[in-house]
Amino acid sequence: MSEQPLEPFDARLVDLLTRYGDRAVDSFEPSVIARGAVLARRQHGARIGLLISRRARLVLFAAVLVLLALGAALLAGVHRPSPIGDVFASPREIAWSPNGATLAFVVEVADSGSFGAAPSVVGTSDRPVPPARVWHDELWVVAGDGGEPRKLMALGSMATPQGLAWTPDSRSLVLGLAPTGATGGMGEIVQLGLDGAPARTLLSTGDRTPDLDGISPVADHLVYDLARTQGADLYILDLRSGASTRITTSQGASFDSWSTDGRWILYDDVAGGSQGNPASIAWVVSADGSTRHELGPCCGVGWSADASRVFFVDQGGALYSEAVDGSAPPADASGWAGISWTAASPGVFMAGTGMGVATFRQGETARIVPGTVGDGVGDAPLAMSPDGSWLAFSGGRNRILGTYLIPSAGGTPLRVGPDTSGGAFQWRPGGDPEFTFVSDRAILSVRADGTAAREIVTRTAIAGDPLGGADSADTSRIIIGPSGPDRDTYRVTGMTWPAVTIENRSTVPWVPWGITEKNPECQLVSGLGGSDPCTVEPGSAVRFMTEGPQFPGVNLEVWLGPAGSDPKTAIPVLVDFEATP
């Protein structure tokens, strides 16, 4: 972190956000808050809550042991492939090969033995908690139509791929690697073939981390950035000569896309330009870095189908189409105030309007087709199918947050899974539109019309089988096995204060987030609004009251994770309330 003079608008933002935040700052007594935090921790280990009786727990334990023994006997001799990772392994990045035949994915795996070791004691609490885990990422591939996943590469401890892209021939993957012990302390961009050959280093960046942005569609160049103090600068690597060309110096550049013919690179930059000092300027630069053309204040950029024109939105919200080489003046299709664009497929774009998603086709008068607005949740575009006929967006319908698909010509949104806006998703190239995303530690794919949903990589293939059997029959009972909850959606009926029971059949404590607000026991434990969750001990069950269904079909999202885990990595499940008041 270093200081540098702020732009006027940045300084204004600091002031505005500070004053806005001040609206929530009440007088407070530090000692009360501190005491509450300390007490919350100390009481955590003493909580009894609504645990079932010790005797019942013993009976339950015995029953579980019998069931496990029976299950083991039944499964003897049956081939069960070993899961990719341990029980908490999670996929978090996916990339379809350009020909749609192979899916690459990154799985976050805990280093062996880093969980379940001797418990440690934190702070003044007498409650043992699991030690912090050490993670590493692994790169896997699987045939798009199914099959056994295959590991291509295990990255070093705590290492994360910095960009992941297929070569246009679909035969190899390219990714950036941060300098770690596994890379000999060198940042690298490497290429991995599907044939299992060792990784080939395309570029070494010393002690700096390269972030791969994209490979040219004709595979002769790639764009990467190197983070600097305040931002990043873009570089072009000529894959034939191995030479790199730095194309920006502002530390504020952002790659957008390659043209479909591989001749041009579209990016935006906070510096330069002939039109004063706008926030960002869109640029087009030739693949070899020799020719550059300023488009104008931007952003939101995309290509025409033939790569001859570029679309962008200026700061006033006007949409422009301009010849890529600057030979034709920009054409204005105004009326798009306050939007940002996501170039999704040649000639078709979609835009987030803050509270909706709109589509626009090249050559048509700018208009919203069909404008989607969720109830209380701002819809946000995710991606458009390669043929432009469908779009995926994140939003809410009937108060159910999720990932929805809708025909770009209009229609009824179809919910295909939980919200994936912060996760991994992609349309499969070629064939009928098929949307692929990560949900509940599995990699799912669903046709755009909602038919033929399938698991390309199952949850059990990644993290084992949570219960060793089918989902529980009781839809209001969340049963946690060694690999997590037994299903991703639960249904609860009841008039007021319906309850959901969480039963922990794993060997470590689990905690829920999102259902503790109306549970006095949890509030008593935390003393601070219930955000510090109740713990469900191994072999026990906790019954949680929930906020009553004030509306039919009201929905609640609950996150579950091992005690001591980060809520961001918890497993989301959906609880649907079917009752009416």
Binding site: L17, G21, V25, A37, G123, G163, Q315, R399, S531
Partner: protein, 181 residues
């Protein structure tokens, strides 16, 4: 913007963090006294709801007390605390989805000089509403906590590049919404 500082009211932060980490409640109380408003502010930017903001800040202190041992450098205490508060606010905001109908600010100026300020606050509130919680968290951590993209990325589980891209777009969106063009 400076994200971290090595002193608190002239006292080295390490001299407070170390005893707090060891269980000294008085030292922890002094940290709370100094940084609680910062936590509430960033949580307010993320949630847009004063009640959630205070709840998130309070929850953040529970986590901070429990995880002070994870803080490697005392000079990073403030951004570390604000990251926790921002994440708590995001959690509470999304778990509070059923409270989707937010209370809108009502322009009720009592004096002309307050009118423009009130209108500005409403503009900002409305401008922030068009962003999702993650983007609001990025803005809060950048402009209130003074963190750079790499630090923000670690705090919210994104790559630094993704942070920069989303921040640039969120900033641009705010600029347009606020008419600062």
């Amino acid at each position: 913007m400076v994200a971290g500082s090595s002193e608190l009211h002239g006292e080295p932060l390490a001299a407070l963090v170390a005893p707090a980490r060891a269980g000294d409640e008085a030292a922890f109380t002094r940290i709370v006294a100094r940084y609680h408003p910062d936590l509430v502010r960033v949580a307010m930017v993320v949630s847009g709801d004063a009640e959630i903001a205070n709840e998130a800040a309070q929850s953040a202190w529970v986590i901070a007390w429990r995880r002070l041992g994870d803080l490697r450098d005392a000079a990073n205490l403030r951004p570390w605390l604000m990251s926790i508060a921002a994440n708590e606010a995001r959690q509470l905001t999304r778990s509070g989805l059923r409270r989707a109908v937010r209370e809108l600010a009502v322009l009720d100026p009592t004096t002309p000089s307050e009118e423009s300020g009130a209108a500005l606050r409403i503009d900002l509130a409305n401008a922030l509403r068009v962003l999702d919680a993650r983007d609001r968290a990025l803005l809060g951590l950048r402009y209130l906590a003074g963190m750079d993209s790499t630090e923000i990325g670690k705090a919210v589980g994104m790559s630094a590049t993704a942070v920069r891209t989303r921040l640039a777009r969120a900033r641009e969106r705010l600029r347009q919404e606020l008419g600062d063009v």
